[in-house]
Symmetry: C2
Subunit: 329 residues, 2 copies
DNA sequence: CTGAAAGCGCTAACAG
DNA sequence: CTGTTAGCGCTTTCAG
């Protein structure tokens, strides 16, 4: 029924070892033999069984991808970059949603390891102590993209979040902005902390402080933007920094609905830089993260680990740009 | 090094068959034995090798998902529904981007089959003759969600696109709208045709016809909305039906930038119903497709095929609703 | 350049 | 309830 390497060998009058060599591009096969084998492969429509191959070779050419929410554009954009590179290096990807739930995340790691993936790339979530311990005890390489583990022990690809927020705040201060608000949370607590740290650093240099009431944590979706706006409006912010674009758009609309002029009375800037930023009026100002590249470079880094190549730099910091569009002055 | 079922067996002083039974929840094990085995499993931190298991059992509890573009919200929303059901039934998913390229699509099918997936779910793309032939010649079940193959031979989950467009056109005609335009294309040619057929049917009943110059095909992204608007504006449409939300939003903005009042002078309605519809002002009117369910039901259908359950209905038509929001009168 | 043979780690009859 | 025994389909020494 399903035809195997053995069928091909018999039909081509060679041993299965030779068929294996042909299939794997081993040069030690006489051209004539190779041709004959290839002819039989085509004729019989032979398709190598990757599972058997994986068992025998202890390599599956498969990498696992852990993502908090695939329907979040930020992550699907990272996934896109990473997939392209994976394909380029002939790896398949198993993408799993963790829902940012530590238990699910742990299960996913377990599944992935039991599937014998050659590597894992982690795009955001919690990375509980349990999971971290599991990672430490396995020899399967793990790379983190677009977020960070708590102690930065894992190889990672990121931008400098703190630096970006620092820059933004400095500019706003020059404009005379006094009251800031910060909205973040959700999938990457570490990035959130970095951004907040950056804000507080500059503010402190100017003998100012971030009002705790002006810090909103919560989900990162559109409707959470409304909630955030309502929660913050009593602090009368003149500028809001918001991690998520989608949520920032919610804030823009909630503010507009409340009769607040953007950017004249309220400036808004986001960090995710998905293609949503151009889909609002005024267009959303944001930190231009190279999303595709964060995914792509992460996967490239992982391939280096999987092939045991030299790693120059296990922590890659990619450049960012700040694009001041319509929601800032 | 990596510990196997054999190590557990030796340590627990049972045969590997017994360990296998415990791991697989086979009831034919004395509780005391089961407990002892479980203790050893935990102590040794044994993790079954899914690859070996797959080879021996000829089942991988993995399904392949083929998607034209994971960063397209429409598809990532389907993927979300499908993933949840897959997880519920203990299947893992391998998601691959086809980029709507027949060659890549074919390769993906090949890879998936060589990985011995238990089933495949197809979310949109081309389904070339080659690929269709490959599907026919394999015993691995394939289900299509949110689109259709040309001859509807494969099990599929959809809404009635033609009916939806018919309804929309009838309403617009009642309002006295005379000049229609249609924008579609991209990932599901079949859905596009269905929508267009629906439009033309009603128009014909009213002795009208769709101006060929008022039909625009192309990509489905925001910037393509601008292009579409420019290409169509000479036909002076009073209403535009557009498959993609993202593209529809592009049209809305392009029209607004041209000084056209929406919905007074131009009505716009889309079909994808992603959460983008609420992220524009005015809010986008659209056909409310049950995206999550289209994915979820597709996966459920696939599990039935994989378990060889009875199938009542290989073509599932899910209900839709039309939500007339701000971009229609 | 080619073949023989020994597994990879597990499941699944088959006995008992 | 438990153990023995064949494989699953392929890669990989090791000889020659």
């Amino acid at each position: 029924m399903t035809i195997t390497i053995y069928d091909v060998a018999r039909e081509a009058k060679v041993s299965m070892a030779t068929v294996s060599r042909v299939v794997n591009g081993n040069p030690n096969v006489k051209p004539a033999t190779r041709e004959r084998v290839n002819e039989v492969i085509k004729r019989l429509n032979y398709r190598p069984n990757a599972v058997a191959r994986g068992l025998a070779s202890k390599k599956t050419t498969t990498v696992g991808v852990i993502i908090p929410d695939i329907s979040n554009i930020y992550y699907s954009e990272l996934a896109r970059g990473l997939e392209d590179i994976a394909t380029m290096y002939k790896y398949q990807t198993i993408i799993s949603n963790s829902d940012n739930d530590p238990v699910k995340e742990n299960e996913i790691f377990n599944n992935l390891l039991s599937k014998q993936v050659d590597g894992i790339i982690f795009l955001g979530g919690t990375l509980s102590a349990d999971t971290l311990a599991m990672i430490q005890s396995t020899s399967v390489p793990v790379v983190v993209s677009g977020t960070n583990d708590g102690d930065e022990s894992l190889p990672a690809v990121n931008i400098d979040y703190a630096q970006a927020s620092t820059e933004i705040i400095e500019r706003l201060l020059e404009q005379g902005v006094k009251r800031f608000a910060f909205v973040g949370g959700g999938y990457s607590e570490k990035a959130r902390q970095d951004v907040q740290a950056g804000i507080e650093r500059v503010l402190k240099e100017h003998n100012l402080a971030l009002d705790p009431a002006a810090v909103y944590k919560g989900n990162e979706q559109y409707l959470d933007g409304e909630k955030a706006f309502n929660a913050l409006k009593d602090t009368k912010p003149e500028a809001i920094l918001c991690i998520s674009d989608e949520q920032a758009i919610g804030i823009v609309h909630a503010a507009q609905d409340a009769g607040i002029k953007i950017p004249e009375e309220l400036q808004i800037i986001s960090f995710n830089n998905t293609r949503l930023v151009q889909m609002v009026r005024p267009k959303l100002s944001s930190v231009m993260q190279p999303l595709y590249d964060i995914g792509a470079v992460g996967m490239r880094l992982l391939t280096k680990y999987m092939n045991e190549e030299d790693i120059e730099d296990k922590n890659v910091i990619l450049p960012y740009k700040i694009d001041y569009r319509g929601t800032t002055k």
